[in-house]
C-alpha cells in the first residue's frame, strides 16, 4: 500500500470506527458534558407483544406510559446524569436509572405501548402517568404524583406523600398512601384503600366491594352500591361520608366513639343500640336490605346523604 495512503487510513481509522459504531447503534447516544455530567438518551421502536410487560424505575423525573393500537413499542428515555440499565425484548422491557459517582439527575421515560401491556413503575420523587394500557398496572412513588387511567385486571398504587388520581380502572384495586390524597372515578371491581392522613374521594364508580381505612384522612364515596356488595369504611379521626339513593336497599352498621352520626335517612334505634354522647352504635335497614355497609370511626363524623332514586337499587 502507498505509505501515504496507509498513514491517512490509520489517521482516519478512529473516526471510521466511530462512524461504524454510531451507524450500528443509532438508538443510544451518550456524551460527556463540559461539567462532567453524563447524559444518555435512548430512542427506539420495535415490535412488542400485546400482553407483554414493561418494568420501569427511576429516582427523580417522570415516567409516562401510554397505550396505543399499534403492535410496536416506542421508547424515549433520557437521563441527565447517571446511566440507564436496559433490557429490551419482544415481551419484556425494563429500564432502570442508576447513579454514576453517586450522582443521578432527572430521568424521563416516555413509552407508547400496545394496549394490553402490563406496567410496573417505581419512582422516588418522580411523577408517574400510565394511561390507556388496558391491563394490570403496579406503580409506586415516594413523593411523586401518580395518575392512572384505563387499567384493568389489577391495579396497585402506592405513595408516601404524592397524590393519586385514577380513572376508569377495573378488577382488584389497591390504593395506599401515607399522606397523599386520592381521587378516583369510574372504578369497577373490588377496592382496598389504606391511608394515614390522605383524603380519599370516590366518584361515579360501580364497585362490588370497598374496604377503606384511614387514620385521620376523610373517606368519601357517592356510590352506587351493589345489592350484593360489602362496603366497609373505618377511620380514627377522619370523617366518613357516603351517598345512598333514596330507594336504596341496604343494611347499615354505624359506630363511633365520639364522632357525630348524621343521616338524610331517618335512623330508628333498635333494642340494644346506643345513641349517647359517647360510643354511638346503630344498625338499621333501608328498603329490603341487600347491600351491607359499615362505617366506624373513633372521633370522625359519619354522614349519609340521600341521593336521587335510581332505577335498579332494589
Amino acid at each position: 500500500m502507498n505509505p501515504r495512503l496507509m498513514m491517512r487510513t490509520l489517521t482516519l481509522a478512529p473516526f471510521l470506527l466511530a462512524t461504524l459504531f454510531l451507524a450500528a447503534a443509532p438508538l443510544e447516544a451518550q456524551g460527556r458534558r463540559g461539567d462532567g455530567d453524563v447524559r444518555q438518551r435512548i430512542d427506539t421502536t420495535f415490535a412488542f407483544d400485546r400482553g407483554g410487560e414493561v418494568d420501569l424505575s427511576l429516582v427523580s423525573g417522570e415516567i409516562i406510559v401510554t397505550g396505543g393500537a399499534s403492535n410496536q413499542i416506542r421508547i424515549v428515555a433520557t437521563t441527565e446524569r447517571g446511566r440507564l440499565v436496559t433490557s429490551f425484548g419482544r415481551t419484556h422491557v425494563s429500564i432502570e436509572a442508576r447513579s454514576v459517582d453517586n450522582r443521578l439527575g432527572d430521568t424521563r421515560y416516555e413509552l407508547t405501548v400496545p394496549r394490553g401491556t402490563r406496567v410496573t413503575a417505581h419512582a422516588v420523587s418522580g411523577d408517574i402517568r400510565v394511561h390507556g394500557t388496558g391491563a394490570a398496572v403496579e406503580v409506586h412513588s415516594v413523593s411523586g404524583d401518580i395518575s392512572v387511567r384505563d387499567a384493568s385486571d389489577r391495579l396497585e398504587v402506592g405513595t408516601v406523600s404524592g397524590d393519586l388520581t385514577v380513572a376508569r380502572a377495573s378488577g382488584r384495586l389497591q390504593f395506599e398512601s401515607v399522606s397523599g390524597d386520592m381521587m378516583a372515578e369510574e372504578l369497577t371491581g373490588d377496592l382496598t384503600i389504606e391511608t394515614i392522613s390522605g383524603e380519599m374521594t370516590l366518584r361515579r364508580s360501580t364497585l362490588a366491594g370497598i374496604r377503606a381505612s384511614s387514620m385521620s384522612g376523610d373517606l368519601e364515596y357517592d356510590g352506587p352500591f351493589s345489592p350484593t356488595g360489602t362496603y366497609r369504611f373505618n377511620s380514627h379521626s377522619g370523617n366518613v361520608e357516603f351517598g345512598l339513593p333514596a330507594n336504596a336497599g341496604a343494611t347499615l352498621q354505624l359506630e363511633t366513639f365520639s364522632g357525630r352520626i348524621a343521616s338524610d335517612f331517618p335512623l330508628t334505634l333498635q333494642p340494644g343500640q346506643t345513641a349517647g354522647r359517647r360510643n354511638r352504635r346503630m344498625e338499621f335497614t333501608l328498603g329490603t336490605g341487600g347491600t351491607r355497609i359499615s362505617a366506624e370511626t373513633f372521633s370522625g363524623n359519619i354522614t349519609i346523604r340521600r341521593l336521587p332514586a335510581r332505577g335498579n337499587q332494589e
Partner: protein
C-alpha cells in the same frame, strides 16, 4: 426501585473496593444486622415462629444476624439489601399481626372483639397462617411495642439516607398514629369490654407497624 437500585454487586467485596455507594450500603446493612442481632424479638415465642422459620429456611435465611454473608446464587433475590430489610420488617409485621389476632381470639370469651377477622382488627396486609396461644392485652401490647422499637431502629438507621422531606412526612404521620393509639387506649381502659375500641386500638397499632415496615423498603438516598 427497591430491587437492583441499591444492591448491584453489593455482596462482591472486590466491587465494593471501587464503589463508594455499595460500600455505604454494605456498611448500613451490617449496622442494621448488628442491631437486629441484639434484639430478643427476633427469636419470638409462640407457635408462630415455627412457621416463619420454616419459610425463611426454604430461602436459606434462618438467622437475620448472619444475613450480611453472601448468599448462593439461588438466594440472590433474598441477598439484596432492600429485600433483606423488607423481609426483616415483614417478619416483624407478621409476628405482630399474629399477636393482634391472638388478642382478638383470646378476648372472645369476654365478648371483646369476638368473631372478627384479622383484617377487621387492623391486620392489614400481613398474612397470619399459624394458630397461636392466647395472650393478655398487656402481653400483646408489650410485644408489639417491642417490635415497633425494632422497626424504629430500621428507620433511625436509615434516617440520614432518606430525603428530609420524606422523613418529615413520615414523622408527622407517626405522631398521628401515636395520638390515635393513645386516644383509643384511654377509651379502652375506660371501657375494657368494648370490642369496637379494642379493634380501633389494634388497628392503630397495625397501622404504625405497617408504616414502619414501608419505611424499611424506601430506597436510601431519597
Amino acid at each position: 426501585m427497591t430491587r437492583d437500585h441499591l444492591d448491584h454487586d453489593v455482596a462482591d467485596e472486590s466491587h465494593r473496593a471501587s464503589c463508594a455507594e455499595c460500600t455505604a450500603v454494605w456498611t448500613e446493612l451490617e449496622g442494621i444486622s448488628a442491631q437486629a442481632a441484639r434484639l430478643p424479638l427476633l427469636t419470638p415465642s409462640r407457635d408462630l415462629w415455627a412457621g416463619i422459620e420454616t419459610r425463611l429456611a426454604r430461602h436459606g435465611m434462618t438467622d437475620l444476624s448472619a444475613s450480611v454473608a453472601p448468599r448462593p446464587a439461588a438466594s440472590r433475590w433474598l441477598a439484596r439489601p432492600a429485600v433483606r430489610l423488607a423481609v426483616a420488617a415483614s417478619l416483624l409485621v407478621a409476628v405482630s399481626a399474629g399477636i393482634t389476632w391472638t388478642y382478638a381470639k383470646s378476648s372472645a370469651p369476654q365478648a371483646s372483639a369476638t368473631g372478627r377477622s384479622i383484617e377487621e382488627l387492623g391486620g392489614n396486609r400481613a398474612a397470619v397462617t399459624t394458630v397461636v396461644q392466647p395472650a393478655s392485652l398487656d402481653e400483646t401490647v408489650a410485644t408489639m411495642d417491642h417490635e415497633i422499637a425494632a422497626l424504629r431502629l430500621l428507620l433511625d438507621e436509615r434516617r440520614e439516607r432518606l430525603d428530609p422531606r420524606t422523613v418529615s412526612v413520615l414523622e408527622a404521620n407517626m405522631q398521628l398514629i401515636d395520638k390515635a393509639i393513645a386516644e383509643s387506649k384511654a377509651a379502652l381502659e375506660a371501657d375494657p369490654s368494648s370490642r369496637f375500641l379494642a379493634a380501633q386500638y389494634a388497628r392503630a397499632y397495625a397501622s404504625k407497624i405497617t408504616l414502619l415496615r414501608d419505611v424499611a423498603t424506601i430506597p436510601a438516598g431519597t
